[in-house]
């Protein structure tokens, strides 16, 4: 080999033939590992290397909001199923409110065609949905709804940047459909479907809220309902849990991150396994 021929720097890509042996280890990697080992577990905690508390809290609040929105589905269902509230005026009011909000935020009307198609499809299908699992016992329906809700909560996307995935939308609809079979009339089924879709899918999509304000409003509604329906003791327990989640958990997480996370995790953050890009 000629001396003046300079080697190309090594790249972490398998699909090009490089002038390096197969068991080649990059010096950068070794240096990084050594630095981490040197710092080790006993290094002085540096708050700068950890994620800021505010960001963690924002992420957690986003999830909290979604959880509360999901519980709105059950609250609405309970109002219609248990308290026999006529849902029609509320649905109309909510629709008008949402239309107003969307007009205010985007300064244009929502796509009329698709919303009409959806509305009429739901109107047509609501008798079918009502009779779909009529013969199934109520207990099975509750169980099914419980597992579907768990799956829905699990499927929610963790970061706020990405759109909610199709799977979670579908799971939400599945919950609503399963619950709809317990209602008495097809009008109720239609209204219930409509309310749930508006609250959970359209509202977060159209309107960008201040997360904290939204969380406050939602918590007020949910806690009021819990106090009214289940009593103060349950409400206190729920309130303790949620305040622990919002105020204590982020701090705790940051503390753990600065003090207890080993160097393997941060190494794998830099030298993470490459995800294949398929197209």
């Amino acid at each position: 080999m000629m001396g003046e021929h300079k080697k190309e720097p090594w790249k972490r890509i398998l699909w090009i033939r490089q002038d390096y042996p197969d068991n080649y280890t990059d010096p950068e990697f070794i240096r990084h590992a050594q630095r981490l080992r040197y710092k080790g577990k006993y290094a002085w905690p540096s708050p700068t290397s950890a994620t800021p508390v505010v960001q963690v809290r924002t992420d957690l609040v986003l999830f909290y909001n979604k959880l509360l929105s999901t519980s709105l589905v059950f609250i609405a269902f309970n109002f219609i199923y248990h308290y026999k509230v006529d849902p029609l005026p509320y649905t109309i009011a909510l629709t008008v409110f949402i239309l107003y909000l969307s007009w205010k935020s985007t300064r244009r009307w929502v796509d009329l065609r698709s919303s009409l198609v959806i509305t009429f499809a739901m109107l047509t299908l609501s008798p079918v949905l009502k009779s779909l699992s009529k013969t199934t016992a109520s207990n099975s329906i509750w169980t099914l709804a419980f597992w579907l809700t768990l799956a829905y909560v699990g499927s929610m996307s963790p970061n706020s940047a990405s759109q909610t995935s199709n799977l979670s939308t579908n799971l939400l609809l599945a919950i609503v459909t399963v619950l709809a079979s317990r209602l008495n009339s097809s009008t109720q089924v239609f209204c219930f479907l409509f309310i749930c879709i508006q609250l959970n899918l359209i509202l977060p999509k159209l309107v960008v809220f201040n997360t904290r304000l939204y969380a406050l409003v939602l918590s007020t509604i949910v806690f009021t309902y819990v106090i009214l329906a289940l009593g103060l003791s349950y409400a206190v327990v729920a309130w303790c849990l949620s305040s622990f989640y919002i105020f204590v958990l982020p701090q705790w997480f940051v503390y753990w991150q600065t003090n207890y996370r080993g160097y393997e995790a941060s190494l794998s953050r830099v030298w993470e396994s490459q995800r294949p890009i398929l197209d």
């Binding site: 698709s114 959806i118 779909l132 199934t136 799977l167």
Partner: protein, 615 residues
């Protein structure tokens, strides 16, 4: 240098040499190009003039008077004793088992090992079998033993102990009867041609392109089979007789090359399978008629007893039973909560169909009077045309009666299949994916909210309706499989009656040497010269029933296998494809019946050779 290591020795010579103990004997053998020595005869030594024997013939051994020991001129040799095949009794040796089906229609029993089969093809290719070429040639010579012996006597008449017979008187008589014979022959010929023509017409009607009845009805298939057999009979007959007459008329070999060239053609194994097939078909037809006579007489005798029982059984199985099943399905069977509305709708629809088919088919066809009439007709038919005919009519009758089961099965399988397909594509939507047909894979896709909502609604509705559809589909599939099983049992009986290798089996019992399936060599004694005995292995029973084994495999593959289960799970139809199934059993018939003109040409050829022989 002498490569002729083996000497084939006819066993008849042993007894003859014992009968002539006082004479010195010399064994005369023949060896053609590429064959070993085959001893033709043992001739007293004084008859032979040494200069006389020419190239293909040679003296390979001598025996002193009053001795039992032969001394062979070739050193280090093996004696292979054989019993000379009597060609007029159609005995012959063959390295391979003879084929009972037409060569172009050979089917393999195990389709599973395709690679192994291609390897076997290479293995079987003559090019890779140089090691047994000599044996092959020698066996061909052995098969023509009597011809070669006759040729020897023709050339050296003084070797022969028997006087040459003269046929003059018989031929004269034969010639005087010629006009009568010709007249009879032409009558037979025209009757045959007429029958063939009729059979061809029926064949064409049954196999017309628009509505091939053959695929619909078993009776039509049976008629079609008989027609094809009738069309093929003259061809087979001519093929057998032309070969026989050519062989008989053949001039004795006078030169070495003539005899050598003759090794290649005119072997019994060429036309012999035709002979077996021809008589097998004839026997089976007679057998069938005799079965039919028994069956028909029993039916006629017991007609009055059978009809009411049959009426009750048919009405119970095909009407009441199915009615009950359909009714139960509508009312949450075995505690499974089905969708009420859909179950009610489906069950009502099927109940209407049952009532319709009951009114249209079951009631009029399964009436006691109609049944009596049918049984009577059946009995008469089976007496005239044979038992298979009666069985196929029963089968057709059954398939008409069970047509509603087929309809239910098709309707429910269609519904199920659609539902499954829609559910699969909606499930992709449920997961936010979409099938990419261009690349044949599943890709991520971003759906609009309205698409998503509608798709999900439909998906959930379909998921909740699945158990209902599934319950109907599976109960009707079970019924359909039961009906198919009955049909298959009956069809197997028909196939067995139509294609049983009866003649081959009887031949095997009567004279195993006439149905060779290979050869075996057995050490007889090992003195100074080892003696082997060449024996014919008869064709194995498995080989004779090979088409049936293949057929059973096909049936199992089509109806009772994992593949079928998969098909049923996917909602694909399980149907009897008769034309494909029974191709195997048509293996002894050509694809299309022979043309009349070809037949006529063959006949001309046949009569010409016959005349030439007599002249």
């Amino acid at each position: 240098m002498n490569l002729n290591r083996y000497i084939f020795w006819p066993q008849e010579l042993n007894s003859r040499s014992l009968r002539l103990p006082s004479e010195e004997l010399a064994a005369i053998a023949i060896a053609l190009r590429g064959t070993d020595y085959v001893v033709l005869d043992a001739v007293p030594n004084q008859l032979i003039d040494d200069k006389e024997l020419e190239s293909p013939y040679a003296i390979v051994g001598k025996r002193k008077a009053y001795s039992n020991q032969w001394e062979f001129s070739i050193k280090q040799t093996c004696i292979i004793e054989f019993r000379a095949p009597r060609i007029e009794l159609l005995q012959f040796f063959s390295l391979e088992p003879i084929s009972l089906s037409l060569p172009e229609k050979e089917y393999d029993a195990n389709d599973s090992c395709k690679e192994a089969r291609s390897l076997c093809q290479i293995w079987d290719h003559p090019r890779y079998q140089a090691h047994d070429r000599r044996l092959r040639q020698s066996l061909k010579l052995l098969n023509l033993f009597s011809t070669h012996l006759a040729a020897l006597y023709h050339r050296y008449p003084h070797y022969s102990r028997k006087s040459v017979k003269t046929y003059n008187r018989r031929i004269a008589l034969w010639n005087r009867l010629k006009p009568v014979r010709n007249f009879l022959a032409s009558i037979c010929f025209y009757v045959t041609i007429f029958a063939c023509h009729l059979a061809t017409c029926i064949y064409l009607i049954l196999n017309n392109g628009l509505l091939p009845l053959v695929n619909l009805s078993v009776t039509a298939r049976q008629i079609d089979l008989r027609c094809q057999q009738i069309c093929y009979f003259p061809v087979q007959y001519l093929r057998i007789n032309v070969n026989v007459s050519i062989r008989k008329a053949l001039p004795r070999f006078r030169t070495y090359s003539e005899a050598s060239a003759n090794l290649r053609k005119d072997l019994p194994s060429k036309y012999y399978p035709d002979y077996i097939r021809f008589y097998n078909t004839l026997w089976l037809m007679l057998n069938d008629v005799s079965f039919g006579l028994i069956f028909g007489s029993i039916l006629l005798e017991k007609c009055d007893e059978i009809a009411p029982v049959l009426h009750r059984v048919i009405t119970y199985c095909l009407y009441h039973c199915i009615n009950t099943v359909t009714l139960v399905l509508a009312q949450n069977p075995v505690g499974i909560k089905l969708n009420e509305e859909l179950a009610l709708f489906l069950s009502d629809m099927f109940l209407w169909t049952i009532d319709f088919s009951n009114l249209m088919f079951i009631k009029p066809l399964a009436d006691v009077g109609t049944l009596k009439f049918f049984i009577n007709g059946l009995a008469k038919m089976s007496c005239v045309f044979g038992g298979t005919f009666a069985l196929s009519m029963i089968l057709d009758y059954f398939s008409i009666l069970s047509i509603h089961i087929y309809l239910f099965y098709r309707i429910s399988s269609k519904i199920y299949h659609w539902q499954l397909n829609i559910m699969i594509s909606l499930f992709y939507l449920f997961c936010g994916k979409k099938k990419n047909i261009l690349r044949n894979r599943v890709d991520n896709n971003f759906f609009q909210l309205d698409e998503l909502l509608l798709g999900t609604l439909f998906f959930i509705i379909l998921v909740f309706l699945t158990p209902t559809v599934l319950a109907f589909y599976f109960s009707y599939t079970v019924l359909r499989m039961a009906a198919i099983t009955i049909e298959i049992i009956l069809e197997s009986i028909i196939a067995l009656l139509n294609h049983f290798p009866l003649f081959a089996l009887l031949l095997r019992i009567k004279d195993p040497r006439r149905i060779p399936g290979g050869i075996s060599l057995k050490l007889k004694k090992n003195e100074d010269v080892p003696h082997f005995e060449l024996k014919n292995k008869p064709l194995s029973i498995y080989f004779m029933f090979k088409p049936f084994v293949v057929l059973m495999d096909h049936i199992r593959d089509n109806f009772y296998s994992i593949k079928t289960l998969k098909q049923i799970t996917l909602g694909l139809p399980v149907t009897i494809k008769r034309n494909r199934l029974y191709q195997i059993l048509y293996s002894s018939l050509p694809k299309r019946p022979i043309d009349i003109h070809t037949l006529y040409d063959k006949w001309e050829q046949f009569t010409n050779t016959k005349d030439r022989k007599l002249d």
